[in-house]
């Protein structure tokens, strides 16, 4: 072990009070350290940002409708369901597990929502109760998967493969002879088909930027008070300015067309919620620990089974929500609900975004960035009039490329001891 690790430091080297980022470090030092990290294989979101730019350039050069306000709004709506389901997938991937059932679990939820709202007089439900029941069903399904995996010890691959078949069956059974069910409820359809008024969108984005700046500043102040290393204030300013730039561009572009779809708010809210859960709560910390070293987590007194069950429940809950969003976007459900490319696109989104299949590494933003890549390719190839066959081949190649980049960078990290 000692042969491959960093050279032994003697006791008179840097004291522990001097961490990698001493107070008063300038922005240049930060940039230099970031670049050193990138060269050592700590790529972060860099490959995916470059990938998105490449995608934009390629499709725009082939068809100048790609980078228009109208297509941008379409893209948000198209990526919504994959993003939401992908967020759930991140939770199980962090454990080093897999969930193959999310496609048809989303189908079950979409179908259940639509069926519960059918205006047949006797027991029609409103949108609220129907959605609540569908989401609870999602939690129940995930809990069932989790119990089978932890308490009986069946591998998650098998449990959720069985789920893939069984929940597909449930979709067919629920629909029965109805064929296609049109959703007429304005609230449910409005999710993916209605848009924020322009002024409201501006208020939301400005409030979001203010909140972000406030959080960064209060964090800076607490660390400062405790005498810990802080980021340079110029970097905090840069972060706020970047978010503000992205937010303002998104709203400005979308407002040129129909506006920001409501589903965008759903995605943003879920992103904040789950990022908070993963990074700032004990539960989130325990998920990373279980994924990184299950035995260490168990010895630290963490109830590993409960963490796993909760993650599978969250995964199926998010799948259910994704299914409702998908039903909303299509304004209907049918026997194909939850089928097709949903499952593989959602898993691919999380992986392309940088979440490791081996557990312990990943973020909620992976699902968002990955879904953006997949939806862009799908959308761009669609604009070029290419077939589903081409779409699948290209998306498959992008998935391979993303994992290859990750493998190379992991090798670099291992050599630099940064794993």
């Amino acid at each position: 072990m000692s042969g491959t690790t960093a050279p032994v430091e003697t006791s008179d080297s840097a004291p522990v009070g001097t961490p990698g980022a001493p107070a008063g470090e300038s922005l240049q030092d930060y940039a230099r350290r970031w670049w050193a990290g990138v060269r050592a294989g700590d790529l972060g979101s860099l490959p995916i940002v470059i990938g998105l730019i490449l995608i934009a350039i390629i499709f725009q050069s082939q068809n100048d409708r790609f980078l228009t306000a109208g297509n941008f709004v379409n893209l948000i709506v198209q990526m919504a369901a994959i993003t939401v389901i992908g967020m759930g997938i991140v939770f199980v991937l962090l454990l080093g597990e897999i969930d193959l059932s999310v496609g048809y679990v989303s189908g079950v939820a979409g179908v259940a929502t639509a069926l519960l709202m059918i205006p047949d007089g006797s027991h029609q439900l409103g949108a609220g109760p129907a959605i609540a029941i569908a989401l609870l069903a999602g939690i129940g399904i995930g809990t069932l998967h989790g119990l089978l995996i932890t308490k009986i010890g069946i591998p998650s691959f098998i449990v959720t493969l069985a789920g893939l078949l069984a929940w597909n069956g449930v979709v067919l059974l629920l629909i029965g002879s109805k064929g296609t069910v049109i959703i007429q409820n304005a609230f449910v359809v409005g999710f993916a088909n209605d848009f924020l008024p322009a002024t409201t969108a501006w208020i939301v984005v400005i409030a979001g930027i203010g909140l972000y700046a406030g959080l960064l500043l209060s964090g800076y102040r607490t660390r400062r008070k405790a005498g810990l290393a802080t980021e340079p204030t110029s970097l905090i300013a840069l972060r706020v300015i970047s978010l503000a730039a992205v937010g303002i561009i998104v709203v400005a572009v979308a407002n040129q067309d129909r506006g920001i779809p409501y589903v965008f708010l759903v995605i943003a809210g879920l992103y904040l919620l789950w990022t908070f859960v993963l990074n700032r709560t004990r539960f989130g910390r325990h998920i990373y620990a279980v994924g990184g070293n299950t035995e260490a987590a168990r010895r630290a007194g963490i109830n590993v089974d409960n963490v796993k069950i909760a993650c599978f429940a969250i995964c199926s809950l998010m799948a259910a929500l994704g299914g409702i969003i998908l039903a909303s976007r299509l304004r209907s459900i049918d026997t194909n609900s939850g089928g097709g490319s949903i499952l593989l696109y959602s898993i691919a989104a999380a992986v392309i975004g940088g979440t490791s299949l081996f557990g312990g590494r990943g973020h909620i933003k992976s699902a968002v960035l990955g879904a953006l890549v997949i939806a862009s390719i799908d959308n761009g190839l669609g604009l070029l009039g290419l077939s589903s066959g081409t779409k699948f081949v290209v998306t498959g190649l992008v998935l391979l490329a993303a994992v290859a980049v990750d493998s190379f960078s992991r090798r670099g990290r291992a050599q630099a001891g940064r794993a």
């Binding site: 072990m1 000692s2 042969g3 690790t5 960093a6 032994v8 430091e9 003697t10 006791s11 008179d12 080297s13 840097a14 004291p15 522990v16 009070g17 001097t18 961490p19 990698g20 980022a21 607490t222 660390r223 405790a226 005498g227 810990l228 700032r280 709560t281 004990r282 910390r285 325990h286 990373y288 620990a289 994924g291 990184g292 070293n293 035995e295 260490a296 987590a297 010895r299 630290a300 007194g301 963490i302 312990g360 590494r361 630099a416 001891g417 940064r418 794993a419």
Partner: protein
């Protein structure tokens, strides 16, 4: 170093089916004392610490902690008493940083159940500094990037951070280079000087003679000798490990005990 043991095992037995892993073992360690636990493979060292840590329930005898008998049913019970074990494989999560590992399972939270990173980072740094662990550059780097000696230091710091009274180290210098072994041995000495009761399991008699005050020798699940480090030679200890006189014939007696 006081003479009243903080932890004492009296006649502890443990069997796995027909296998008698421990037979009426006596063991004790006092505050400020570094007690080495030695024995050949299969002597029962690991079983003994797992009994103390609450991973295995004991089948006979009693565990006395600070003068009163206690029953330990799980790792949480032993942690509550102030007994911490640093396992051979360290039990650190590579993907978490130093602070996150030191607080794993016992994270501090603030009023609204948010992780209190600031408090955790500050206290982790204090603990490392109090143990004079000076080689870790940043407590916010993942432990995957640490050397074997640094990882061992983090694991030990994690164990002593909780007002622990007894720290058990399982082969802390196995697989370490010369300079890193030195770091860890210095750390073990400091733990004793700070008044903790330290139990050190090792195969390396050289290390043991350097840091331990007392040596308990186990052979085939039984006590065979107890030495003061200053009063014996390594040869005598090796003799006890390989050929120490067994007080009882395990096969026969254990059959009667378990019958």
């Amino acid at each position: 170093m006081t003479d009243t043991p903080v932890l004492e095992l009296r006649g502890v037995s443990k069997n796995f089916g027909a296998v008698q892993a421990l037979f009426e073992v006596d063991f004790h360690v006092s505050p400020g004392e570094v007690m080495a636990l030695v024995g050949d493979n299969g002597a029962g060292k690991s079983t003994l610490i797992k009994c103390i840590a609450g991973i295995h329930p004991i089948d006979g005898g009693e565990v006395v902690f600070e003068g009163s008998p206690v029953s330990i049913h799980g790792p949480k019970d032993s942690a509550k008493l102030g007994i911490e074990v640093v396992y051979q494989d360290l039990a650190l999560a590579d993907n978490l940083d130093v602070v996150e590992n030191m607080y794993l399972g016992r994270e501090l939270t603030d009023g609204i159940r948010r992780l209190d990173e600031t408090a955790m980072e500050a206290r982790a740094k204090d603990t490392l500094a109090s143990l004079s662990v000076t080689t870790i550059r940043s407590v916010r780097q993942t432990v995957a990037g640490l050397s074997g000696g640094q990882r061992q230091s983090v694991a030990v710091a994690k164990a002593v951070m909780w007002n622990s009274k007894v720290v058990i180290l399982d082969e802390p210098t196995a697989a370490l280079g010369v300079a890193q072994t030195r770091q860890v041995l210095d750390l073990v000495k400091r733990l004793g000087q700070q008044g903790l009761a330290v139990v050190l399991i090792s195969h390396n008699l050289h290390d043991i003679f350097e840091v331990a005050d007392t040596i308990t020798v186990l052979r085939l699940g039984q006590n065979v000798a107890e030495f003061k480090t200053g009063e014996v030679t390594q040869t005598q200890v090796v003799e006890a490990i390989t050929a120490g006189a067994l007080s009882k014939v395990p096969g026969h007696v254990s059959a009667e005990v378990t019958a």
